[in-house]
Symmetry: none
Subunit: 200 residues, 4 copies
């Protein structure tokens, strides 16, 4: 189990929703402020006014807790759809708000921990991909499909490859930080990928 879900129990005291909220609140605050490695379960428990046992009852690992804690924040900035009329407009409408969201808090530090964990724990890997990547990726896929139907897309284009190229470029700067992740960069990426490198 990677995430916190209510067990469908008959009797017994019901789970405290107050504790659940306090834990996620404390975890999100601490994690983004200090990074996953520098935050202890003891610290989360104290900050949330909760006992460690309560956390471990519902989340198996620190990473699982962090994933839950950050899920909401990311989900907010995931639009249901973007319809601007053009492929270029749709892509920018999708990518720019996301990049703004990324810039708000030091997410990259925590993402590094997610990557590390995912590579040792297949269960976490699925949860991570499912929650933080698939939703946004599916919207982008829909955008490309619509463009294809409108005839805006080169017929040979493989959409999965295109998705990795577009998102990959953004993630690259986001995670490695070798150069700034600006609106201009996002625009340049979209234009470069749409137009292609090769002389025609």
């Amino acid at each position: 189990m990677t995430t916190s879900e209510q067990t469908e129990s008959k009797g017994g005291r019901p789970r405290s929703e107050k504790a659940r909220a306090a834990i996620l609140r404390a975890a999100a605050d601490l994690l983004l402020e200090r990074g996953l490695d520098s935050v202890s379960m003891d610290a989360v428990a104290e900050q949330a006014g909760v006992s460690k046992a309560t956390i471990y009852r519902w989340w198996p690992t620190k990473e699982a807790l962090a994933l839950d804690a950050l899920y909401a924040e990311w989900a907010e900035a995931t639009p249901a759809s973007t319809e601007t009329g053009s492929l270029r407009g749709d892509l920018l409408a999708l990518l720019l708000p996301w990049v703004h969201q990324l810039a708000k808090r030091p997410y990259a530090r925590v993402m590094g921990s997610f990557i590390t964990r995912a590579r040792s724990d297949p269960g976490f890997a699925s949860a991570y991909v499912e929650r933080l990547m698939v939703p946004r990726r599916e919207i982008a896929r829909a955008v490309l499909e619509r463009a294809r139907q409108r005839g805006e897309l080169e017929p040979a284009v493989q959409i999965d490859v295109a998705l990795d190229v577009l998102y990959g470029a953004v993630y690259h700067r986001f995670l490695h930080g070798h150069a700034p992740l600006t609106d201009q960069f996002v625009t340049d990426v979209v234009d470069t990928v749409l137009g292609g490198l090769a002389c025609r």
Copy 2:
């Protein structure tokens, strides 16, 4: 100081090259086998037949040690240049051997730890970029410059953006593992980026 460098001292017992080599050897083996988080300095010291103090004398953190330990392995697979005559050929000649190198060992797990550390330690961030990214990136930049001079490149193309697009796509699958990182994928990325998505 982020990496191990010989201090230019006059007197005193010289640094033991044997110890240095044993530490890097042990670190590389353990790190790739078990991941950075699951490897203790105690374990590296024992495996290398060396005292912990000796490690800490030369490397300030586990991450710095890992960076040094992995540097050599990556450097081997970094070609001095690639001259196939065409942009497409050059790019594939550069990317494919690298991807093969990545596939040999579970590097992604350690890379996640590097990203995490880099985002809390600017000194480490520079060392990381300088050692593991810049060398390969500069070769790719040269490839693109040559292509531009041959007239193979669309004049408007920004090379820094192009580099992030190409490498970003590969890193994306490498780090997130949401889909396999095959030769076919690399070829598709190159063709997609060269040709562009938009209908012409």
Copy 3:
């Protein structure tokens, strides 16, 4: 806090009496066998089958632990009172069993460490005096008071000085070991102090 005392807590897991006993047992054995300086907390923890953190939770320093560990052994040989009818008899009844206790194990080595520690840590100094010196000293004081009431004591005698003279002589040989601490010596000390040096 210098010694291990139960905190008067409401909730929480209760302190393990088994661990407490095992720690004191292991500490006493190791300390007397090898001396305070040559015994590590790691060794005590291992010998007691206990984690180091558990020891540090209840005893702030190695010396404090040693004090607790030796307290019991000394307390056993501290008689509640001694009533032989004469001052000389009372003093011998008090001192001889104590000297026999001292001879059983190499206490002097540990006492040296106590003295060292006491002179850098006033809190430890009080605990040391309170536990290892005051009880026996108070009995001796009572013995002298009784002798005074019986008219056995020179009226000018200051009891505190007399106590230091009697115990001082025994401690002197005990700690410095320049000559053996025999029953004969104890008897001689009592007789010398009672009779005085000066010709009358």
Copy 4:
């Protein structure tokens, strides 16, 4: 070997007297200021501007170094003789200056370490007794012998016992610190021991 002595060598570089003096100076200062346990050989070496190897070449342990370092200071206050005409006067002339010397610096802390060490190292024990106790004790013995010849001493008095009684009382307060070591106390001790406790 417990103390630093010049080996009678034929050739080679002679021992540096400057280094020897600097080491003893640094050791004395640091030891009395911070206590034996809190002073490292590295610290002594640095303070003396000397390499650690040089210290270890001449002194086998920290305690041996400390003993040498403190020897001079104690020796100064050891009078060659004391001739006041009376036993009481001689004893006070011997004890009072010594007690004043003891009060100048925190010697008791270091003495505790000496006792500890002596009880694990017979060689050190002899050196300790020989250097710090015997000289003064022999003078006191001479004082008592003279008193005996003058007929001031009770014939039955055993001098070795008397010495332990007198010095023991002073050492007792000095080492255990349960009460102040004043001139008045020393005077009271002498008078008490000379006069005896028992009613006559």
